[in-house]
Amino acid sequence: MQLKNSNNKKAGKIGKLITHAALALTCGITNLPSVKAETQSAKSSGYFSGIRNWADWSGEVGLLGYSETEGRVQAFEPGINLNAKFDGDRVWNIKLIYDSLTGASPNGALISGQPQTFTSPSGRANYTTQPGQIPLYDQFKDSRVAVSSSWSQPLTRLLKGSAGFNFSKEYDYLSLGFNSSISKESEDKNTSYSLGVSFTNDSINPVGGTPIELATMVPSGSAQPKTQGGETKSTLDVLLGVSQVINRNWIVQGNLSVGISNGYMNDPYKMVTVHDDTTGPTLGDPLSYIYESRPDSRLKQSVYLASKSYSKYGILSLSYRFLTDDWGLTSHTLESNFNFAISSNWRLQPGLRIYSQSAVDFFRYSVGSSETTTQNVTADTRLGDMMSITPGLKIIKKLENDREVSLLLQYYMQTGDKSPSSAVGSQVGQDLFPDLNAFIVQIIYSF
């Protein structure tokens, strides 16, 4: 996820180009205040008039702002999602997203009561973390462009099919995927079944090369324990879903998902602290660092249940996802929000997301110096025991012709075990799982 400045500038220019093009295209298509494709006279002139008449347009254009506290990661993400609906219920969809990330990202090493020096991913520089501080690489910069598109159309009176692709590119990562789905409605349109398949192939070219798993980090200027040539990963996802109308005010949905990934699964920029495990005054002190190692494959299975119910007070949305994988991770995700009107054109939507996760089998805060580490190991807290809570509030302004503009404010709070039983010596008393808090803002115009 590291990026040189010259490539950052190129990606930044691409991002600005996408943003400007998205705004211009959206304004041209929507041509405020009119939205839906109107019956234009044959004498309508102008490029955007032609686009508007080509199909029945709808979509969204928006912006995500993400900022972690303590000077960590910040992200800026404009995006656009467009639907062009043609005769016969055929729809072409295209989505463009640009990510710009900066800030400081944890390198996986454990907090210590003494200064720690690390080698940068390029292998050409060092950086030092002060005592009691989270080891962060603060030269983290990355930009990503993502494009996805799909075509859907009826196959029979009750059967609909779709096919699409998704592509994303960042400095050290390239992803290309294809997906297809089929859905069938019951005669009364109250029940819908869907089956989708997605295949994605990723190419990873880490800055400075791919670290040899479990190799010890060496100082800058020395030959780095890394290989050149890049790595690959492929993922197959299958999703089976059903939605059911219960009554005129209530609809539910259930999905069963399976995902199989194979290939390079490591985070090439993450390492694990090797601590002194000899009894004495240096017990727990960091001695060295090894690059993490994850299994070559991952099988994920999840069940997702959702409900939307209407009452005179508002609309209640609830969802629950249970996920488990063969790495030993199990998670529960509960999301809820309540959408209600405060005036004829204004609505509020408070919401809450609660997430809990049990660690993967190979998660370790650190490994002892006398251990012979040949198994998979990671200290990436994203795979550890943790939970997160995300309260939020969405403010919606309804406009003419089914358009709306919304502002979503959220605060993400992630916590883990700060004093695990595995802590020894100087590790005891340190905050070994610092909280992660982030402000999230979304501004979206839909038409």
């Binding site: 969204e60 254009v61 993400e77 995006g79 656009i80 999602n81 989505k95 994303s168 960042e170 050290d172 990562y173 992803s175 349109k189 029940t191 997605s198 040899i212 798993e213 190799a215 197959l236 996802d237 939605s243 059911q244 109308v245 009554n247 005129r248 259930g254 999905n255 069963l256 998902s257 995902g259 199989i260 194979n262 090439p268 190692s293 299994p295 070559d296 494959s297 299975q301 069940v303 997702y304 209407y310 609309i315 996802r321 488990t324 063969d326 991770l329 998670s331 995700t333 997430y355 996760q357 040949t374 198994q375 998979n376 994203r382 943790m386 919304s406 992660l436 979304q442 979206i444 839909s446």
Partner: protein, 98 residues
């Protein structure tokens, strides 16, 4: 390319077959889900609405997957900071996030 002393390495060509076998094995969660879908489908044969009763259901807030951009932003954020992904749609990915 890889450290040959690492254990638990599956052969790349056979890993799909291995994982498919694991998926096909009996598991409590799959049985529960299967019965849930059967129950819902059978019990819901008497549920539903007539075409002229869809006024509320046609609202955007009552439609699953109506807010594509918002869902995409949220999925990417959570996928980058947690160990889970996907469920309500295809797994988020295409980046070196998790």
């Amino acid at each position: 390319m890889r450290n040959s002393t690492i254990n638990n390495q599956n052969n790349f060509q056979n890993s799909y077959m291995t994982n498919l076998f694991v998926f096909l094995k009996f598991s409590l969660i799959k049985i529960f889900t299967l019965f849930y879908f059967i129950f819902v489908t059978a019990a819901c044969s008497s549920m539903g609405v007539k075409p002229w009763e869809r006024e509320v259901l046609s609202k955007k807030e009552m439609t699953f997957g109506a807010y594509v951009l918002e869902a995409g932003f949220e999925d990417h954020t959570y996928f980058s900071k947690e160990g889970s992904s996907g469920g309500r749609s295809f797994s988020a990915g295409g980046c070196g996030c998790n």
